[in-house]
Amino acid sequence: MEKTGNPIMKAHSSGVEPEMFQVLTPEGEIVETIDPKIDKSLMLKMYESMLLLRTFDRKSINLQRQGRMGTYAPFEGQEASQVGSALALSAGDWMFPTYRDHGAAIIHGQELYRVFLYWMAHFEGSICPEGKRIMPPSVPIATQMVHAVGTAWASKLKGEKNVSIAYFGDGATSEGDFHEALNFAGVYKTPTIFFCQNNGYAISVPFNKQSASKTISQRAAAYDIPGVRVDGNDIFAVWLTVKEAVERALKGEGPTLIEAITFRYGAHTTADNPAIYREQDEISTFWRENRDPITRLKKFLIKEGYWNDEQEEMVLKQFNEQIDAHLQKAEAYPKSNPLEMFNHVYANESWHLKEQQQELEQILKKGVNK
């Protein structure tokens, strides 16, 4: 079999349903030539980023359990998809995450404390650092996909060298906006990357109930855009694929649909009990033991002599401190002033909002809203 690091071109030109593109096996073996090269420093960045996110995610679940944070959507198991995709972007690229993609957002430059703030229900949790283009998590499913068409379209019209990436899950592919986004992107050849993390379940509904399609990537054919299916727990495969999609987009070759096969180990959110709809212990143990994105890269790095337990211990300690510092900042963050709810509804405040704000101000002064 001819080996190539250009999965999109291969899948698109062959015209047959693509197999899952994989570079790094769960055993940590390289099965594809890597082109472009992933150098050691990038490999370490990938690994450390995944460790950081997993630490963050586990801490977040604990915080929710302790009542220090609201409902939280965990992503453990999906780190390779989120890190690999985000690391393939440039700083000025537009990112449209869902509520499960704060991992990708963090790697693209969102600050940890702001992610905490979001789940702690602070307004400021939806703001990204100045100059970044990380949109607030989209809550209605698939709706953000068309936005990523629009921002990419504007980049193209203005001659700016940026791509827009939309994150979504397998459930989103049943929504109309999924199809409208692919269709519009195809028509206007926008530099958009549609990055689907197919974790097998839309809350409780498995993909075989979601669609008769065997794959999500095959839907791309209907819109005559490239679609590729990758091992979403193989960070090399994800990074290479998104990198190629970015390059295609910047060359004016239009959008790409990427289906990353992955699995969320935990619940849909902290308010969900996955044991109701799947053999939770068995299935999550299977993925953890056999498909874990972090373990597989670690095996590879250790074999190459790039990593050891001592380094891991040191890095984890550093990450825990870093996360705790952000958590401290988030928990010390001043509680939102109730009157802030009236700000930013419009650029210029209208009379009725001013009055309602005054009304609430009076109520607060009287102290009746306890």
């Binding site: 537009w94 307004f123 400021e124 939806s126 703001i127 990204c128 949109m135 607030p136 989209s138 809550v139 209605p140 709706t143 953000q144 996909m145 068309v146 936005h147 990523a148 068409v149 629009g150 921002t151 990419a152 379209w153 504007a154 980049s155 019209l157 203005k158 827009s164 109309g176 906006d177 409208e180 986004a181 269709n183 519009f184 028509v187 700000n343 930013h344 509804v345 419009y346 650029a347 210029n348 209208s350 009379w351 009725h352």
Partner: protein, 327 residues
């Protein structure tokens, strides 16, 4: 110097001038390019400004409004044409859940300067779902502004303001008035502020509040009743439906002490109820009679063979005036 234009021509002129003046402005929608729009509101603009700025889109309202949100986020000033108001529903989620909320969610970091133009209203012998007046849906959505002009002059000035507005504006164009009459419209660009009603006719006995196509019914009824009974009605064109111009509403009631609201939208939870509530809050003691509403009925807009009986007529408005003044 002005030109005598229909409302449709005034709308086209506003877009043409903004396209010419500002590179960020673009128009998108179904059949709006080569075809010039089903009502010809964009006639000639595709040829003049090119396919990248006057864009024929796929037939998908959510895709249109959603991608326009993205365009607006990234520095463009999109004007979306939705072919008829009742076709907006697939894009309703985009408008309500995203366009209206993006500034709020990002605390002013990202805004959506977007205009949704759409013909609305009955009386054009349209097929099913071509005649709705569901302005309340949008006027119930914080973050949106809703505008409905009733004449060519206002249409141009309000549309230019809408295009320049930093927030999303739903711009409702009364289909029945598109070609109903011409009036003098200045050639230069001018702006009519969003949020300001207009006293179209001064009076002392009763105030009629109306907008869009109903303004003409209101004026005709006021004229007839003055001839027949000598009552002088003040007529207020609300022009902006959200946020409402409370001051103009209240001032007029303080002067006349009576109000009649005419709208072609369904009665229940229509904007008339909101206007009554404003008067109740601000000018109750000035009222000499209960406020009456003459509106479309609480039924789906019926087939056009009987739509004239759904719509408020001059006779119904006259009756409403008489009932209120003789209460």
């Amino acid at each position: 110097m002005g030109k005598s234009l229909t409302m449709l021509q005034a709308i086209t002129e506003a877009m043409d001038q903004k396209l010419g003046q500002d590179d960020r402005v673009m128009i998108m929608g179904e059949d709006i390019g080569v075809n010039g729009g089903v009502f010809r509101a964009t006639e000639g603009l595709y040829e003049k400004h090119g396919k990248d700025r006057v864009v024929d889109t796929p037939l998908a309202e959510s895709g249109i409004i959603g991608s326009a949100i993205g365009l607006a986020l990234n520095g463009m000033l999109p004007i979306v044409e939705i072919q008829f108001l009742a076709f907006i529903y697939p894009g309703f989620e985009q408008l309500v859940s995203h366009a209206a909320r993006m500034r709020y969610r990002t605390r002013g970091q990202f805004g959506v300067p977007l205009v949704i133009r759409t013909p609305y209203g009955a009386g054009i012998r349209g097929p099913e779902l071509h005649s709705e007046s569901v302005e309340t849906f949008f006027a119930h959505t914080p973050g949106l502004k809703v505008v409905a002009p009733s004449n060519p002059y206002d249409a141009k000035g309000l549309l230019i303001s809408a295009i320049e507005d930093p927030d999303p504006v739903v711009f409702l164009e009364p289909t029945k008035l598109y070609r109903a009459f011409k009036e003098e419209v200045p050639e230069e660009m001018y702006r009519i502020p969003i949020g300001q009603a207009k006293v179209v006719q001064e009076g002392s006995d009763l105030t009629i509040f109306a907008w869009g196509a109903m303004l003409r019914e209101a004026l005709n009824a006021a004229k007839k009743i003055e001839n027949e009974k000598g009552w002088k009605c003040e007529v207020v064109d609300l022009r902006t439906l959200y946020p409402l111009d409370r001051d103009t509403i209240v001032q007029s009631i303080k002067k006349t002490g009576r109000a009649l609201i005419v709208h072609e939208a369904h009665k229940t939870a229509g904007l008339g109820a909101e206007i009554i509530s404003i008067i109740n809050d601000e000018a109750l003691i000035y009222l000499k009679a209960p406020i009456k509403r003459v509106t479309g009925f609480d039924v789906p807009v019926p087939p056009f063979s009987i739509e004239d009986h759904y719509l408020p007529t001059v006779e119904r408005v006259k009756q409403g005036i008489t009932d209120t003044i003789t209460f």
